[in-house]
């Protein structure tokens, strides 16, 4: 619905697609994110890691306003996230999100899961939406399941459907919150492969994951979070071979 509007506010490509400036967030009294500063350029691929409870999920959920921040600024594609619901919905159409537990809509077929957003949010004609959905299902190697229901698919297949569902909205940025941690080992690869394809096509990605192999081969930048702060961020090379902070070293020694 905001097609024309979006073009008006489209930013020159050197302006970061995501800008987070001195952002703080509290859950009640609990200071869960503290002074977060983050710039993401178009086509950049960022992996976020850190111990459990360090605020990784909270951070990426703030970027599409599934969580509300209390201080500082978050600007996505030129739109600042405030209480204005129109702005929030606009940002959400530009930002795709993939969840740990897939969150497919169990009452809809795979195809309907994919076309829901395009038809109702983008107002794409049904036929066109169906074709696009089939194209993306093809891309995640699952086209033959289009008429099944999510409950009939394996975890890995469901997660690939979830990725395709986000892609159907033609997002500028994709957020992934531990997309493989609910999967059996043999299914992790099929999902990571899809994500690698996506990265190679130039999708802007923020990925929370413990898959360090993925970080090494795909990320432009790896960020380490602890106690609600970004402790360190660097290219994967430096990050893994030459971590600067004690906390990073401790974390890496535990997971590698």
């Amino acid at each position: 619905m905001n097609q024309t509007e979006n073009q008006d506010v489209a930013q020159p490509t050197d302006r970061p697609i995501i800008e987070v400036n001195s952002m703080h967030k509290w859950y009640g009294d609990f200071h869960v994110l503290s002074d977060i500063n983050l710039q993401v350029q178009l086509k950049e691929r960022i992996v976020i890691c850190g111990p459990s409870g360090s605020g990784k999920s909270t951070l990426i959920r703030c970027i599409n306003r599934l969580e509300e921040h209390q201080r500082g600024q978050i600007i996505v594609n030129g739109t600042e996230l405030t209480n204005d619901i129109k702005n929030i919905e606009k940002v959400r159409t530009e930002v795709g999100m993939v969840f740990q537990h897939f969150n497919l809509f169990p009452h809809l077929t795979i195809l309907e899961n994919l076309t829901l957003g395009p038809i109702w949010v983008r107002k794409t004609p049904k036929k066109e939406a169906d074709e696009m959905a089939m194209m993306y299902l093809e891309k995640v190697h699952i086209a033959e399941q289009a008429l099944k229901y999510p409950g009939q698919l394996s975890g890995g297949q469901q997660q690939r459907v979830a990725i395709a569902r986000s892609l159907c909205m033609k997002p500028k940025v994709m957020l992934f919150d531990e997309p493989t941690s609910a999967l059996d080992p043999e299914m992790i690869k099929e999902v990571l492969d899809v994500m690698i394809d996506l990265a190679e096509e130039g999708m802007t990605m923020l990925v929370v994951t413990h898959e360090m192999g993925f970080a090494k081969s795909v990320a432009d930048r790896v960020m380490f979070m602890d106690y609600g702060e970004i402790v360190e961020q660097n290219t994967p090379q430096t990050f893994f071979d030459n971590p600067q902070h004690e906390r990073t070293k401790l974390f890496l020694s535990q997971i590698l």
């Binding site: 999100m97 969840f99 969150n103 829901l116 109702w120 949010v121 999510p150």
Partner: protein
């Protein structure tokens, strides 16, 4: 039961006491001394009750005779129903005009049956109902096409029961869903309003609501303004049922995982779309069983309108029994009526089970 030819060992049949009729009896009725005792006692009780009832209901009974013929028999006088059928069904609707409510009921039943099929759940269904309603109302009220006007206070019997029940349920359901959504709203004013409404309605019996609608409510209306009594009862039933439906639906909404809301949000769906396309289809499906429970209550509770002097099918039956000719046959009449209510309720719950199955998507 023959052994597979390749079997190298002998396949024995299970002991006769484990399978077949004997096994079943042993396993279910005589598996311990107290169960055996209970079984014997129940059999004795059945022996005392069933044959006499059977004799009364089927052997010694008369099915369609004048009242006099019932005087000298031992069995049931089912004649009370067919002999009075037109009053029981149509009540005080004027003689000679009774084809009108009859036709209206047939139309209603036809529409209900048509609506059962999920293939028909399209926009056109709404149109059919709208047209159907206008036709039904015209048939009942008259005043056109040479049909004399029949005021609503003469509407009675089965058409009244069906009308109060059907519109009670059909209108209460969406209202209940809205109330449930309102109760979970983030807007304090809406939320409070819904909570107060739901709790207030649930805090009073339907009878008192009906009394209020018929006795108190008119006192507050300005002079000269009157609202139809049947309509007031109908509204009371709708408001009452909606409060209960609301709580049932709220349960369904609470059962929805947060991830469903988040997934819908992250696609950019707005509140209305999220509810209509993602949340309600799932939540309403979960609560089909308790919703049907409420619907059945609503259906049966329509009989309470007797206390504000509306003549539903229960009341027309009672009136029939107050005729000295038929006074002695209330058992038969009430059994027949119970069977009628049972058939309607059973059809509803049966349908709901089918619907639940049809909506199941394997998760």
């Amino acid at each position: 039961m023959t052994n597979p030819p390749s079997a190298t060992r002998e396949y024995l049949k299970p002991p006769i006491t484990e399978v077949g009729v004997l096994g079943w009896l042993r396993g279910n009725l005589f598996n311990s001394w107290y169960n055996s005792l209970l079984t014997v006692l129940v059999l004795l009780a059945l022996w005392q009750v069933v044959p006499p009832f059977f004799n009364w209901a089927f052997i010694n009974s008369v099915w369609n005779s004048p009242a006099e013929a019932c005087r000298d028999i031992d069995g049931a006088c089912w004649s009370v129903i067919p002999q009075n059928i037109s009053f029981i069904i149509f009540g005080f609707f004027p003689d000679g005009q009774q084809w009108r409510p009859g036709l209206a009921m047939l139309l209603m039943i036809g529409l209900v049956i048509y609506s059962k099929d999920r293939k028909h759940w399209k926009k056109s269904l709404g149109t059919y109902w709208l047209v159907g309603l206008v036709v039904m109302a015209t048939l009942m009220y008259g005043g056109v096409f040479g049909m004399p006007v029949v005021e609503t206070d003469q509407w009675s019997g089965l058409p009244l029961t069906f009308m109060l029940a059907l519109f009670g349920m059909v209108a209460a359901y969406p209202l209940g869903v809205l109330l449930a959504l309102g109760r979970r709203s983030r807007m304090p004013a809406i939320k409070t309003l819904c909570v107060v409404y739901i709790e207030m309605i649930r805090g009073v019996p339907l009878i008192s609501l009906l009394f209020m609608s018929s006795v108190m409510f008119p006192l507050f209306l300005p002079e000269g303004v009157t609202i139809d009594k049947v309509l007031r009862a109908q509204v009371a039933i709708i408001l009452f049922t909606a409060a209960y439906i609301a709580e049932v639906v709220r349960g369904g909404l609470q059962a929805m995982a947060r991830g469903q809301f988040e997934a819908a949000d992250s696609l950019g769906l707005n509140y209305n779309q999220t509810m209509r396309l993602v949340i309600l289809p799932q939540a309403l499906k979960i609560v089909i069983p308790p919703t049907v429970g409420q619907m059945l209550s609503a259906f049966k509770d329509t009989s309470l309108v007797v206390i504000i002097a509306l003549y539903d099918v229960l009341k027309t039956t009672k009136v029939t029994l107050s005729n000295p000719k038929w006074t002695g046959y209330s058992t038969e009449a009430y059994i027949a009526l119970a069977i009628f209510y049972f058939i309607c309720c059973f059809a509803m719950s049966n349908y709901s089970r089918k619907l639940e199955k049809a909506l199941h998507t394997g998760h």
